[in-house]
Amino acid sequence: MKRYFFVLSLISFLLFLPTYGLAKIPGGTVTYAAGADPDRLDPANAESNPSEAVNRMMYENLAKFDEKLNIVPGLATKWEQSKDGMTWTFFLRKGVKFHDGAPFNSEAVKVFIERMIGPEKPSRAGLYVPFVNLVEIVDDYTIKIHLKTPFAFFLNNLAHSASGIISPTALKTHGKDIARKPVGTGPFKFVEWIHGDHITLVRNDDYWGGKPNLDKIIVKTVKEDSARVMMLQSGDAQLIVRIPPEDVPRLEKDAKIKLDSTETLRVLYIGINCFKKPFTDARVRQALNYAVDKEAIVKNIYQGRALVTSGIVAPLTTGYFPIQGYPYDPEKAKKLLAEAGYPNGFKAKLWSPQGRYPKDFEMAQVVQQQLKKVGIDCTLDTMEWAAYLAATRKGSEENESELFLLGWAPSTAEARWILYPLFTTEQWVPKGNNRSFFSNKEFDELVTKFTRATNKAEMDKYLKAAQELLIKEAPSIFILVTKETIGMSKNLHGVINSPLELTYFDHQTYLEK
């Protein structure tokens, strides 16, 4: 009997041995080195990418983005839109619990929507206030949201990181302090946050989608780019983000590391202050666009790890249309400048942040050199980010900007959240985000039209027209779309590298042993 048992266990051991190395073994701790310190772990008030990434692991939305940015069911299993586009009905997933034990139901969704449109004014209230009228509970798992106007991209707003649903009981006890005591329904639960060092999350055993594979996630803040790369190489981190393009070829050769690169929604552009002479003249703005050799920038500064763009909307954005932009043509630029009355060019100011976007001020230096070739002599100034935001945010009269490098990525993944805030007249800074003081009546009307459209054909027609008009009017030098390259140990699988510049794990992510 004893011997029989021994043989049996030996056989079973040998049987399982070969598969052992390849099996999906639950468990393990992953250290994830992020590039910046998270700000708040309250979805409605979180503004930095690291916060959003961490929130995505703890919170879930009614609808969510898949990796191609299509909208798929999340905490709502399905939804319906009324004919007039004014009412949305959501059918909620049953048997979902928050980390504190509170049940997820219509009440939780109501609390979430009412917080967004209520007196608290979270930082992301703008996603809801202009559109949502009221919420109506139909039953425990059915809820209706009534809008003020039809809104084509409502689901995108629901899938936005800010729309993660918080436990209503936790929200009641902690109020705004939910920012450091997060409670959601997601696959991972919050443990601790040592500021400036790390955030720890653990597996949520009661997760509705099944028990997550990873035991523990440690999200570390490592600001220094080269330090992050070294941590991955030395094995101190299993996942890092924002790998500088120069390091990519070297890391690709490392047998213990794999890389993943995705095109993002972020367009880097040089804003033009259209309120100031000589930039009031569209020909000057077009000349600027012809004068910059975007191909050379992408090839050399970004080592090909970026994409030349013709407009302000990146290809993966919902509502993108390929439109012919401005090729590199310095002769044409000079001709346009001459037509506009500047045959000898002019002097201008070029501003750039330093280290906010990948290679930002190196790109600015190249632009400076290229503009010089067509006679536009720029002084280049960098500013620390806070001062930069403040300087470019001043009202039209006192704003001293002329050319300024910025990046924009629509956090809702659709084109409206680019065209509307950046270029409509009502969004001029300091009220909105139109730092270029671009103002064009036809454009404003097109934006209103596609926002209120209730069918896709109509929406697409206006969207395309708006983008064409914008490229023609050239309120910015459109330069490139960034790519996000992340690196991880070879045995880490199922990491989500979203074009929204968010890198995170779900319950299926696992460490191969």
């Binding site: 220094e224 080269s226 120069e246 500064i301 280049l380 100034d381 500013m383 620390e384 806070a386």
Partner: protein
């Protein structure tokens, strides 16, 4: 009396120079400093390329015949940038230290000489300035005034004021009880004269030492500020800024960081060696 003092100073200077000449390390430091100043002055004539123009297709190239020290991330010639950078560094050092020297010395002298409430007030102000994290001061100055060479120099200068004030005050405190000051007072010299004709010349040794040593520190302060993104404006070839941007290529193109890094190190070393030697020569107690 002045004549006697004058001859004494001359013989003293000769003695210091004699001692300094025998100090090999100090002479080496002096040579480095001299070479550095020389390069800074002759920059436009000796640099092979314009410092701010590059060919993007030739970026991050290792040293070669065309580019003796290779090229940087924008394809600019590193040698030319380091040579022009010497100018910027020298300018930062001279201006920043000068600001600190003038203000610090004045405050220290007046405080030490008059003593009492006035001294107390100045020294408490210095305490506040000293207890004030230098980096905060520098960041605020640059944040208020905007980044750039001038504000960088100002920040680094203000940062160094207290050190000068303390040293000068200490020296004046010990000098003012000496006989020749009492004598000067007795013959009715006014305060201004005593301060500038008697006390200042006799406090020169510590001031000179502090000046050379600060020249070294200021360069490091500037590079630290560049690291924090508060340095000079690109494309100015300031060494600290060059080093701090080059750190992204530390592994892939190590020469880009090494060149400005070594330049900073060498010059800081030069000033330190020279300053130490000067201290040994000016301080007779260390005579062997």
């Amino acid at each position: 009396m002045n004549e006697i003092k004058g001859t004494k100073t001359i013989s003293q200077t000769a003695e210091v120079w004699r001692r300094l000449k025998r100090n090999r390390a100090a002479m080496m430091g002096g040579m480095i400093v001299f070479l550095f100043v020389f390069v800074a002055i002759l920059a436009p004539w000796i640099s092979p390329y314009p410092p701010n123009e590059g060919d993007l297709s030739k970026r991050l190239k290792p040293p070669s015949k065309e580019h003796l020290l290779g090229t940087d991330a924008l394809g600019r010639d590193q040698l030319s940038r380091v040579i022009f950078g010497a100018r910027i560094s020298l300018q930062i050092q001279v201006v920043a230290v000068f600001i600190a020297l003038i203000i610090g010395t004045l405050l220290g002298m007046v405080g030490g000489y008059y003593g009492g409430t006035f001294d107390n007030l100045i020294m408490r102000l210095m305490d506040i300035l000293l207890a004030f994290p230098g980096i905060f001061l520098a960041i605020s100055i640059i944040a208020v005034l905007g980044p750039g060479l001038n504000n960088l120099m100002l920040a680094a200068g203000i940062y160094s004021i207290p050190q000068f004030a303390r040293i000068v005050r200490g020296s004046v405190l010990s000098l003012k009880e000496k006989e020749f000051i009492e004598a000067a007072r007795a013959v009715g010299e006014n305060d201004l004269n005593i301060l500038f004709r008697y006390l200042l010349p006799n406090s020169m040794a510590p001031i000179i030492i502090q000046t050379t040593l600060r020249m070294a520190t200021v360069l490091l302060t500037a590079s630290g500020l560049s690291f924090l993104g508060l340095g000079v404006q690109p494309p100015t070839p300031e060494w600290g800024a060059m080093l701090s941007t080059a750190r992204a290529y530390m592994i892939t193109a190590p020469h880009v960081a090494t060149v400005p890094g070594l330049a900073i190190m060498l010059v800081v070393m030069g000033f330190n060696l020279f300053g130490d030697g000067l201290r040994d020569s000016l301080d007779p107690r260390l005579r062997d």
